[in-house]
Amino acid sequence: MATLIAPDHPSAVEDAEALRKACKGWGTDEKAIISVLGHRNAAQRKQIRLAYEELYQEDLIKRLESELSGDFEKAVYRWVLDPADRDAVLANVAIKKISPDHHVIIEISCTRSPEELLALRRAYQARYKHSLEEDVAAHTKGDIRKLLVALVSAFRYDGEEINTRRANSEANILHDAIKDEAFNHEEVIRILSTRSKMQLMATFNCYRDDQGTTITKKLLGESGDEFLVALRTAVRCLNDPKKYFEKVLRNSIKGIGTDEDALTRVIVTRAEKDLKEIKDLYHKRNSMPLEQAVAKDTSGDYEAFLLTLLGKED
C-alpha cells in the first residue's frame, strides 16, 4: 500500500501558482514545495508540470533544480519525474558510475512489473539515445554483464500459471549449478531472467522444500564474488521485493553515515506502491518506526520531505 497522502482533486493550476510563489524572489520556500509536491501522486504531478509550463513558459523541473540543492534537490528531482523516466535516470546514474551499481540495475529490473520495465526502456531511449541494454553491455563485462543484460531485456509472462514439474526440475538445476565448483552460470541466468515471477517463486519454494534451506542462504558464500552477490540480489528482489527494500533501507541508515542515494531511491520509488508494508517490516525488524530512524539520520528539508512521503500528517 502507498504511504503517500494526496487529495482527490487538487487544482493543478493552483499548485503551479503555489510552486511559482515558493520559488520567486530571493529565497525559496521549501516548506511550501514539500507541502504541495509531497502530497501529489504521479498523475497529479504531471498535471502540475504541464500547468506550470503553460502558465510560465518554463520547465518546473529545471526551476526546481536551480532553486534547490543537496540531497533535498536530488530527492525532489527524482520525485517529480514520471516513474518510467525516474527509473531511466536511476539506471543511467547506476551504469555511468566508475564502478557501476549492479545492485541498483538488478533492483530496478527485478522489482518492476514487465510493463513498467518496458516503459523504462522506452523512457531510457528517449532520454539517452541508446537502448538500456546496450549501455549496460558497454559498461560491464563477464558473467555480470550477461546477467544484467538478460535481466533488463526481460519481458516476463505476467500470468499466474505455474508448472510444478518445471519448478521442481529448475530448482534442481539451480541447486546443481550453485553447488558445482564449475558453476553453470548460463542455466542460472536463463532461469532467473526468463521465467515469470510466479514460476520463479514456485521454483524458490521447491528449492527450500528440497534443500531445507533457502536459495539466498545458499548463495551467501563469498562476498568477494561479484557474480554471486549479483545473483543473490536478483533472487531476493524476485522472491520477496518488500523484504529486500526493507534491508536496503536498514543498511542505508544504520551505522556511521547515511547512504542518501539508497534512502531516497527506495522511499521515492515505493511511496506510491508498497512503502506501507515495507515500513511495517522495518518496524518489526528494528523495533523502531522507520520515520524515527529517518529523523535521527537526516535533517532539514531533506528529512521533512522524506517524512512527508512516508505519510507524516502535516
Binding site: L118, S131, A137, K146, V149, S153
Partner: protein
C-alpha cells in the same frame, strides 16, 4: 511439347494453373494422356503392373499447392503481432533448420513490432518467447537467439563512429578465432549484434569491410544463423532477395517455398521495390496462389 511443359509446371507445386490443366485434359484422348504421363517421368513412374503411376510426392505437392494458397490467406489476415508470434513458435517447434525464421523476425521488424510479437506470444502461449527459446534450444545458437528476441533497439540515427570501428575489430577477431571458439558463442559478438541500433550496426558493417577487405557476410559464409543475423540487421534487402531466389529456383524444397509466402506477406514494401523478383514470380507462379500474391504486392504499393 507445350502440353508436357504445361503439365510439368502444373505438377511442380508452385501454383496450379487450373485453366490450362483443364484444357489439356479435356482435349486429350487416352493415347495422348499416356504419352504425357510417359513423358513426365519426373512425376510418373512405370509401375510393375504396366501403368504410369503418379509419384507419391506429386500427390503431396498438389495438396501443398492449395495449402500454400490457404497459408498465404491466413498469414495475411492475422494481426502482424500474432502472425510473428505464431511464426516464431512454429519455427521453434520445427527445430534448428528453421531457426533462421526466428532470426528473420527478430532482426527485420521494428523495435515496437518485435515488442508486439512478444506481447502476442504471452497471450497465445502463456509463456514469454525468451523463456521458450532459452529452455528448448540446446545448441550453440541459444544465446544469440534469446538475445535477439529480447532486444528493444534504439531507432535513432545517431552513431558513434569510433565505437563502431572498435566493434568491427571485435567482430573481426571473433571470426578469426573460429577455430578456438565458435563465433556464434562469442559473448562480445552477441552483445554487439543484439543490443546495438541498426544504424550503428550498418556503420560497423562498413568499418569491417574497410578493415578486413571483405564484408562480414562474406567472412561468415559458413556460419548459417550468424550470417543470417548480420544480413537481416545490416543488409535486409540482400537477405530477402536470397530467400526469394531460393524459393523460386527449380530445385526449391518445401521449406524454401514456404518462405516465399512468408516473405511476400510480411515484406510488402520490399516486394514492391523488387521488380526483378516480381517478374520471376509472374513467370513461375500460376493459379489462385499467383493471383493472391500479386494482389498482395499491388496492395503494398498503397
Amino acid at each position: 511439347m507445350a502440353d508436357l511443359e504445361a503439365l510439368t509446371k502444373a505438377f511442380s507445386g508452385i501454383g496450379v494453373d487450373e485453366n490450362s490443366l483443364i484444357s489439356i485434359l479435356a482435349n486429350s484422348n487416352h493415347e495422348h494422356k499416356k504419352s504425357l504421363r510417359k513423358g513426365c517421368s519426373k512425376f510418373f513412374i512405370e509401375d510393375d503392373n504396366g501403368f504410369e503411376r503418379l509419384h507419391q510426392s506429386t500427390v503431396k505437392n498438389l495438396k501443398l499447392e492449395f495449402k500454400r494458397f490457404r497459408d498465404a490467406v491466413v498469414l495475411s489476415l492475422l494481426h502482424p503481432w500474432e502472425r510473428d508470434a505464431r511464426l516464431i513458435e512454429k519455427a521453434l517447434k520445427q527445430g534448428p533448420r528453421h531457426y533462421s525464421v526466428i532470426v528473420e523476425i527478430a532482426c527485420t521488424r521494428s523495435s515496437d513490432e518485435l515488442l508486439g510479437a512478444r506481447k502476442a506470444y504471452h497471450s497465445l502461449f502463456d509463456h514469454s518467447i525468451e523463456e521458450d527459446l532459452a529452455s528448448r534450444i540446446k545448441g550453440s545458437e541459444r544465446k544469440l537467439l534469446v538475445a535477439l528476441v529480447s532486444a528493444y533497439r534504439y531507432e535513432g540515427p545517431k552513431v558513434d563512429e569510433d565505437v563502431a570501428k572498435s566493434e568491427a575489430e571485435i567482430l573481426s577477431s571473433a571470426i578469426k578465432s573460429a577455430d578456438k571458439r565458435k563465433p556464434i558463442e562469442d559473448e562480445d559478438a552477441i552483445m554487439i549484434l543484439s543490443t546495438r541500433s541498426k544504424p550503428h550496426l550498418q556503420a560497423v558493417y562498413e568499418h569491417y569491410s574497410k578493415i578486413c577487405g571483405k564484408t562480414i557476410t562474406e567472412d561468415l559464409e559458413a556460419e548459417g544463423i550468424l550470417k543470417d543475423t548480420v544480413e537481416c540487421l545490416c543488409t535486409p534487402a540482400t537477405y530477402f532477395t536470397r530467400v526469394l531466389e531460393a524459393a523460386l529456383s527449380v530445385d526449391a524444397d518445401e521449406e524454401s517455398k514456404r518462405a516465399l509466402t512468408r516473405v511476400i506477406v510480411t515484406q510488402k514494401e520490399f516486394m514492391v521495390k523488387e521488380g526483378n523478383v516480381l517478374n520471376k514470380i509472374q513467370g513461375i507462379l500460376t493459379g489462385s496462389y499467383k493471383d493472391f500474391v500479386l494482389g498482395l504486392v499491388a496492395g503494398g504499393k498503397n
